[in-house]
């Protein structure tokens, strides 16, 4: 581990601190932002997320070694954490810290993309059901009932079992397309109330078509619960991906994901605990940070607190 790696790590921390500072400055100008900051866990949450996002984006700069490179299979196997290997090495003499950094790319990337898909589909379906009511509402919501009734992990296992090898893109799609049911319920409920507001009638009176009314006038006013559920959803998806990878069905090896790292390390938990513990800690930290931020967002965006 060279000076450069330490500098890179310090740099990532600095970037994260800067992000927190910037978020606080921006938030202070609005009521919702101030309510967000009032949450004691909001700022640490933002810090953790910013830190992991930074190392994920700048992975080649931060990681001291290539994530999949076997450094010295004979002498450097299961090396304990030291100055040279910050978080030790694993069974194949790969640097755990480097793998953790690249794993952040995979885990955060899958989480964000899958939730993006889920939110897009969920918002679309919820908006259509809530705005048009009648048969569209009835049919779509029955479909959602079916989707919610099936255990998600079970559906994913079937899908994964059907294909020999699941690429990352397909995995993201699968997780996203099985995760929009709850969001669509949320959006529908919100749209039902927004569509009765007078400015929606005003928009129709000036000649706006249904698409314009939904996307311009209804959905932006229904976005608060969606943002909150998306923040929570990323954490959920990361846990799901970790679970799948742990079962050996998620991200294909040797691409590092936090779930597959835990899976690899779990077999040596007594001999080399660091190989499983550090990715576990990373998942726990990120999921907790996401929950903290989602919690603060919920309080901040709750319209009932607008008056206070």
């Amino acid at each position: 581990m060279s000076v450069w790696t330490w500098l890179a790590l310090a740099g990532a921390v600095a970037v994260a601190l800067l992000a927190v500072e910037e978020a606080q400055r921006a938030a202070r100008t609005s009521g919702a932002g101030r309510r967000f900051l009032r949450h004691p866990t909001a700022a640490p949450g933002v810090f953790i997320l910013a830190f992991f996002a930074t190392i994920a984006v700048a992975a080649p700069l931060v990681a001291p070694y290539e994530p999949s490179r076997q450094l010295d299979i004979v002498h450097l196997q299961n090396h304990a954490p030291s100055l040279r290997f910050l978080l030790g090495t694993d069974l194949y003499s790969r640097d755990v810290w480097s793998r953790l950094i690249y794993g952040a790319r995979v885990s955060l990337g899958i989480g964000t993309l899958a939730v993006l898909i889920a939110v897009t589909v969920g918002a679309g379906v919820g908006a259509i059901a809530g705005y048009f009511r009648r048969w569209a509402d009835a049919n779509l919501m029955r479909l959602v009932d079916v989707g919610l009734a099936m255990p998600r992990i079970f559906v994913l296992l079937i899908a994964v079992a059907l294909w020999e090898r699941v690429s990352l893109a397909v995995l993201v799609l699968l997780i996203g397309l099985t995760g929009w049911f709850g969001t669509s319920r949320l959006v529908r409920a919100e749209v039902l109330s927004v569509r009765e507001r007078e400015f929606v009638a005003a928009a129709r009176a000036l000649g706006a078509g249904p698409a314009r009314v939904i996307f311009r006038h209804v959905l932006p006013n229904a976005s608060a619960p969606v943002i909150v559920s998306a923040a929570l959803g990323i954490g959920n998806v990361m846990l799901l991906e970790a679970g799948l990878s742990f079962l050996g069905l998620g991200v294909p090896s040797p691409a590092p994901s936090w779930g597959s790292m835990i899976f690899d390390g779990s077999q040596l938990i007594a001999a080399a605990p660091w190989t499983a513990i550090f990715p576990g800690v990373a998942i726990a930290l990120v999921v907790m940070a996401l929950n903290a931020v989602a919690d603060a967002l919920r309080d901040a965006l709750d319209p009932r607190k607008e008056a206070a």
């Binding site: 507001r197 007078e198 400015f199 009638a201 005003a202 928009a203 129709r204 009176a205 000036l206 000649g207 706006a208 078509g209 314009r212 311009r216 006038h217 932006p220 006013n221």
Partner: protein
């Protein structure tokens, strides 16, 4: 006489009630005309069907539970609005017929700047670019008398007062220079001083743009000051219709008389006031069960048995041209039944 801009014939808008307790006949056979450049006042108590009438014209009635009965007829420039295709209807909304809503506090979208909302109709109907739309919005803000229009155009609704928001609503409605402006209680939510300003503004803009205005209100003072002609509604029907001066000089329907007597007068001295302010006894009956015969007879001081049995048609009061002043009251045929004078 010129062709009417808007001709409403036998408009019936019914609502099916949730509990199945019957059909609410909110608007039940309303007919009137509106000529280009004219201001028509539509007056009546809460619940008499004024707003439903205006929403029916733009076909903004939520369906279900509401529906416009077949046989109704709303003709705008020779086209029946009840049968035109949806996209054709959208091309008329906001472009030819615009509407100002009652509540300036809730009729603006909180997430967009007022500038965007003003220009939206122009963007929809004329495909204006972003920059052109912004310039148009600034021009409209100046037109409705908002100071610092260059700055205000980027403000959000919550940064403005009620009077300003109502001006923004007017700017939104007028951006495409509509031929007909429907103003549904445009001043009800505002202070009296702001009310006068808004009404003056509407009048000035009408003179400038030459549009017709349909002014819906429960305030006779507003009507007296601005309208050319007045339609009085009660229980989903037109009960009296006349030019404004004629109506105020010679109200014939007991309901119109009652409305006028209910307005506090500033020119009576306190010593002359014998008792309380006049009020029409009772209240508007439920729209699911209008009374038989004349719908006003349970509250009418002059009613006799014929009123409870036969529904009066709109009768010509014979002032000026035929049809200029019409009244839905049997008193017109039997004036000796009127109690207390006349």
């Amino acid at each position: 006489m010129t062709e009417p801009l808007l001709r409403v014939r036998d408009l019936k808008t019914y609502f099916v009630t949730e509990q199945g307790s019957g059909t609410a006949r909110a608007v039940d056979g309303v007919s009137f005309e509106l000529y280009p450049g004219e201001t028509l006042g539509l007056v009546g108590e809460s619940g008499c069907g004024k707003t439903v009438t205006s929403l029916s014209i733009l076909r903004l009635i939520p369906e279900p539970p509401g529906h416009i009965r077949p046989g109704s007829f709303i003709e705008f420039e020779g086209r029946n609005l009840l049968t035109v295709a949806p996209n054709e209807l959208r091309a008329i909304r906001g472009n030819q017929i615009a509407m100002i809503f009652q509540e300036p506090m809730t009729s603006l979208n909180p997430v967009f700047t007022v500038g965007y909302q003003i220009a939206e109709a122009a963007i929809v109907h004329q495909g204006l670019s972003r920059r052109a739309a912004r310039n148009r919005a600034i021009a409209m803000l100046k037109l409705v008398g908002i100071p610092d229009a260059d700055e205000r155009v980027d403000h959000y609704p919550h940064q403005m007062s009620g009077g300003m928001r109502q001006r923004v609503m007017i700017a939104m409605a007028l951006v495409c220079h509509p031929k007909l402006l429907i103003a549904d209680e445009p001043t009800t939510a505002l202070d009296v001083t702001i009310q006068a300003q808004i009404l003056e503004l509407l009048e000035a803009l009408q003179a400038e743009l030459g549009m017709a205005i349909m002014l819906i209100t429960h305030d006779l003072g507003v009507v007296a000051g601005t309208a050319d002609r007045v339609v009085v509604m009660y229980a989903g029907q037109v009960v009296e219709q006349a030019p404004t001066t004629e109506l105020f000089a010679r109200p014939l329907h007991p309901y119109t008389e009652g409305l006028m007597a209910s307005v506090p007068r500033i020119d009576t001295r306190v010593s002359q006031v014998r008792g309380r302010l006049h009020s029409i006894p009772g209240q508007v009956p439920a729209a699911t069960a209008w009374p038989p015969g004349c719908r006003f007879h349970p509250r009418c001081p002059h009613a006799w048995d014929r009123c409870a049995q036969e529904e009066p048609p709109l009768l010509d009061a014979g002032a000026g041209e035929p049809g200029a002043h019409t009244v839905r009251c049997w008193l017109l045929t039997e004036p000796q039944r009127r109690k207390g004078g006349a």
